[in-house]
Symmetry: C2
Subunit: 345 residues, 2 copies
């Protein structure tokens, strides 16, 4: 457990200068006599040399680590996104610092500060903060940010967007095309852009199909009653209970994400209501479990891993080309038909 070797040790060992050693060991394309280079590499191996990237970073002011801030890795949606990020990061020689904001704006800010202190130059962010003063500060300091999932229109970052409106419209239209006319919309609070947009898509689809919107059919769960937040699954159950209290029931339920939809289906089954025969249910996200539940859930595919991969590539690009413009990418939704919708026609 003696001190690890440095380039100086190697230099001494082969009678060369540290500069030369650095040149061969850092794969610079600076010319070095092949024989010497070989000797250096051999010595490095012998001395069990491991480069100290901290030294390099201090000198070059470059890092190979990117930050990722998401609400919670426990949410399968983000797990998939992060998986996509990590995979491409790893391929490109980058590492991923994972931060969970736990839906706490304070914590998100603290993570941001922390990343900054650790000289992380780029972060992929699913922010839960609306006012972006703090965020803007980071940007103005030259930090690169790619936002995913939640995109605040007034902030100038790179964005990986998803067409939530179209997604909401597609899934609602699917229900309408199966003959459903009375479609409830259940969602967690509409404080996140994604949910608002899905709602908007739902409304548009109704409009196009000339079905009148009935506000009593849109049920939004109340923001976390004191204490810790309720899981979306539980919110789905709760909203369903609420929905079932007064007849007539709708013939279909559109949940703003799969987790919520699972809660809906679970509660319906508990009430002895058969899905989809008596009630159709659709979700949004296409989590792995949408395929696993019975009946398998019809939903909107959101390319989660790909989203992460794209965001990561974009960020690395940004990091390499300082003059890059903030870009924007819009990913497209896709209907995944399974077994949770009953045709009325």
């Amino acid at each position: 457990m003696n001190k690890p070797a440095t380039i100086y040790d190697i230099a001494k060992h082969v009678n060369a200068s540290p500069a030369t050693v650095s040149r061969v060991l850092s794969n610079s394309n600076y010319p070095v006599r092949p024989a010497l280079a070989e000797k250096i590499r051999k010595a490095a191996k012998e001395l069990n040399y491991t480069p100290n990237s901290i030294g390099r970073q201090l000198k070059t002011n470059k890092t190979s680590t990117i930050g990722v801030i998401i609400p919670s890795i426990t949410n399968p949606f983000y797990a998939a996104v992060v998986s996509g990020i990590e995979e491409t990061a790893s391929e490109q020689g980058y590492q991923v610092l994972l931060c969970n904001s736990q839906n706490d704006p304070e914590l998100e800010l603290q993570h941001l500060r922390n990343l900054q202190e650790n000289q992380v130059k780029g972060v992929i962010l699913s922010s839960i903060i609306d006012k972006n003063d703090a965020l803007q500060q980071y940007l103005s300091r030259g930090y690169k940010v790619v936002t995913i999932d939640q995109n605040h229109p007034d902030i100038n970052t790179c964005r990986i967007n998803f067409d939530y409106i179209k997604g909401g419209a597609i899934i609602a239209a699917h229900l309408l095309e199966q003959g459903h006319r009375d479609i409830a919309f259940l969602s967690a609070p509409l404080d996140r852009p994604s949910r608002q947009l899905i709602y908007q898509g739902y409304a548009e689809a109704l409009h196009i199909h000339e079905v009148e919107m009935d506000q009593s059919r849109v049920l939004i769960s109340s923001p976390t009653d004191a204490g810790k937040p309720i899981s979306e699954f539980q919110q789905g159950k709760q909203l369903t209970r609420q929905l079932l209290q007064s007849k007539p029931w709708p013939t279909a339920i559109l949940a703003s994400n799969d987790m919520l939809a699972f809660g809906v289906m679970n509660e319906l089954i508990n009430h002895g209501i058969r899905v989809p025969e008596e009630m159709s249910v659709v979700g949004f996200d296409n989590l792995e479990f949408a395929e696993i539940v019975a009946p398998a859930l019809t939903t909107i595919e959101q390319p989660k891993q790909e989203m992460g991969a794209i965001a990561c590539r974009m960020l690395i690009d940004l990091l390499n080309n300082a003059d890059n413009q903030p870009g924007e990418i819009m990913l497209q939704p896709q209907l995944v038909e399974r077994k949770s919708v009953h045709s009325l026609i």
Copy 2:
């Protein structure tokens, strides 16, 4: 986007030495005249100073980041563990570098090397490598390792253990106590210690209840047929199909984890076999989804978040007290009874 301020800038600004500035800004308990200290802090704020932890690290040879290597964050089990890790790390001022080994030993090693280059001094590891020469090397170099989930008996690290044997025995005993005598055991390949131990527990429980073990009732999926591995869910389906090929069928199925169990249930339902009335199914892990599937899955709770939290605390402890002994903790299984078991008595 001008260069960020350093302690030298601050020193100049307040007419003090960088040493003094460092002393107050790094919260050293070195005495500094309160008035000066205040002035320094004020200047730091004014100049928008952010400490550069790279500089500090190079000097002190200490990091505040820990590495985490797991097979895949996409697996809800590891997502929960990582969530526990990240939360306590964050509380203690540490950051988490997340690495997915994708079940690839090469990649795992590469991550290890990478972490080392980045001067990460401690890692929490769910290793998929059996021969541990490489791992031993890292340990001998003073790296701190806490292993979770997969514990190789021959390697001297800190371990967070889980009593898989007892867990397997408990869940099998539960089935036996409900009158089941013909219980199939389905699992992914027994190449991971956890699976072997669960199998061992299953065997022990049968033995205690004087039920003869029938080897034709233990079905192990063949290791990934060429190309990418099949998900455990798919393996569960496949094994179930295989099991159903010849009658008589068992009355219950013990799957070595929940994911597999979901596959089992899914396939049973596809075959029109009612769970639990015609076939009881139990799992292992108690994933969030065990509660969500219908019928809710009876399984063994493994304290995933807690496991992560404990591992993280242990590692930080190890990092702070160089002379700490490698410890070992054994977490206890617990039966979670839900709706997927039918009583035969």
